[in-house]
Point group: C2
Chain length 463, copies 2
Amino acid sequence: MKRTYIVEALKGNGIDREILVKGWVRTRRDSKGGFSFIELNDGSCFNNLQIIVDAELDNYQNEVIKLFPGSSIAVTGILVKSQGGGQSVEVKANKVKVYGFCNPDEYTVGKQRVSFERLREIAHIRVRTNTFGAVTRVRNKLAKATHDFFQERGFYYINTPIITASDCEGAGEMFRVTTLDHSAIPKIEDNVDYSQDFFGKESFLTVSGQLSVECFACGLSNAYTFGPTFRAENSNTSRHLSEFWMIEPEMAFADLSDDADLAEEYLKYLITTVLEECLEDMEFFNKRIDKTILQTLTHVNESEFVRLSYTEAIDILSKSGQKFEYETNWGNDLQTEHERFLTEKEFKKPIIVTDYPRDIKAFYMKQNDDDKTVAAMDVLVPKIGEIIGGSQREDDLHKLDSRIKEQGMDLAPYWWYRDLRKFGSVPHAGFGLGFERLVQFVTGMDNIRDVIPFPRTPKSAEF
Amino acid sequence: MKRTYIVEALKGNGIDREILVKGWVRTRRDSKGGFSFIELNDGSCFNNLQIIVDAELDNYQNEVIKLFPGSSIAVTGILVKSQGGGQSVEVKANKVKVYGFCNPDEYTVGKQRVSFERLREIAHIRVRTNTFGAVTRVRNKLAKATHDFFQERGFYYINTPIITASDCEGAGEMFRVTTLDHSAIPKIEDNVDYSQDFFGKESFLTVSGQLSVECFACGLSNAYTFGPTFRAENSNTSRHLSEFWMIEPEMAFADLSDDADLAEEYLKYLITTVLEECLEDMEFFNKRIDKTILQTLTHVNESEFVRLSYTEAIDILSKSGQKFEYETNWGNDLQTEHERFLTEKEFKKPIIVTDYPRDIKAFYMKQNDDDKTVAAMDVLVPKIGEIIGGSQREDDLHKLDSRIKEQGMDLAPYWWYRDLRKFGSVPHAGFGLGFERLVQFVTGMDNIRDVIPFPRTPKSAEF
């Protein structure tokens, strides 16, 4: 018999017929009437399927009553309308086949109320809990929706390199990738001889695919990355990972306004998809993780994002009368307290701040005519703050070169990036979104280590 | 005016109306009648759109006649049925706006017949050629079809870790990831002190996400990875990359036969999608890269894959009368020459060879009752040989432990992998497919360095 997934059974598909379901026991309890009630979960949806097992079954005493949480079984039985409350259908078992038992003394996940900290130590089985099952389904849906969104709009998915020997990235601390023998590092005089390393020179893990994906946008019009990126920063916070996934779309023939349009449309597409297709999971988050999450997401979805310049934002902050820890002088970067004031108190919805001072932004951002600002944007959402950062890119070779030099960098390693401005240069723009920050935003989960399968952080790369 | 993509214009969308197109000049030639013919490409499809520019246009002498290949322009004009042969529609330009010129002396890509070797040195702009535009579109489509295929079947996309400090993987040479200062490696007596490294111990780049994704299948039923993997092998061949992408699905409550079904269905789904949705690109490959590629793919798609055991395969090879370089004794691994004989001469279609000798296969594969073989499978296709490798996994803790010990490995680092066999163990199976090998198979491209944006190989990590 073909297996029926629980998500289908709960919809009543197969009602009054015999079906075969398989999964892991979440709970089992005896009734006075000589039955066992099993709550079975197979991961296909949040909810469990109730199985009623009659004590008359052959293996009832030998096996069924030993089915503690975590045990794996197959059940053949009739799918019927449920007599009891709490569920619409249930299965009256004709046969229970046990694949694997589970010792309740060893199985932490079967216990009530295990802390997220403890679950991180058993990340290999935490997906069997309500919370991490839901996180995984929502994360999966956000990834799928990301591909759908960009593909529907003609963007090509580009796998930009993970290992980079290019000096171009320079954003933050990088991990070195090497095959040199650490007990016998080759040297030429006092310097490490990287010509003997695997790639013939120093190489690192990427911090961004942006410069690479620009090459593809400047030839195919629209491209995006969705891959892992790395920061070797010693940040032990609930918002930092050493390894995280990033989405970076890039559009040719586009300016900052097109970029902001794309970012707003993308965020709303993601929220709409999750609210429509993961509603059970989202209701769980709303009940147990963050009681305002559905309201927040619905509000974001219904809002037209406010667009204002950095200069306007500074003006609002300065005149607000609000006391801030950091000063709101023109030229300073916006701090989280400023961002939260703007999104949560001033506008009470998402905002897109544009045209930041050039001195606090990266070399590749397009210089505005005022000679003071660049065509950068940050998308800020209530509670999270910055969720997307992007810019129009400098497409004028001379201006790009002067920015590179101004920041004390060599032109030489940028030869290929500069070529894009020599050979049919086009206005182009893009942004980056940290995927785990997005999952945090959508689920309300507090710690970023709880929205990725196996988190990597300073001093921790378990599993 | 809203931009029309060339893929839409060529379908005649907007016929007899004014449209706006943007892209890069592929060629421009003068006609005797005082016109320029521009072939414009924007990456949205393989074919170019022909633009007819009248010499009467204001900027004709100053700009239009200087439009060498690679220049970027926007054209406003009427989309009309073409008078000439070779295309169905063309644009009569009312206005040509130049974004960026392109110096023909410096722009290698604009030349006829540039070698693939040379194009690898300018990989940042090779996507502007017919071949690499087509490779990128087909690669993109295969990635999208991969997500669609698994999502439609209820598989969750899992981002397994890239950096691993686990000793479990052990398949081939690994790259080390470190933040230690190479000019002052910390030591305790004669040993490197990895407790001072970023993760507090030795860490590496992953060679496979399989063991991690098994954790998710054993809780959610079906899961898959699609991410980068790494091999620090000094292999300079047309089939090896140091960094490549891999797809690894994993199913709970599944055996080797289910695994083979999934692999066959997946390959056919990919081929069908590409033949339906990238036909122009595929026709180009058939004409210029491999004149049998369409025939091969169609044949694979229409064939029922032959399934036979390794023992049967050895028997056929031994009795074939064919001379092989490597002996066909039971217990030896199949070599490429054997695989090609079976797929190209004996069966003339894809085959799935199962149940290999346990001594030549990995520890995690399920032992068969004969005590000699394991439930492994290789999917072999004509011309390429092995394209997919998979197995049912050992779900019996005692058998798994004895295999780990047999291979001289410690049990301790496998504590979490072994837990899956303690807590509700289930039969489960999965496979791995190297994404670049797949792109090679589908496009007929000879060198694997030409089917990934920026290839990483020994002594080479440019861009």
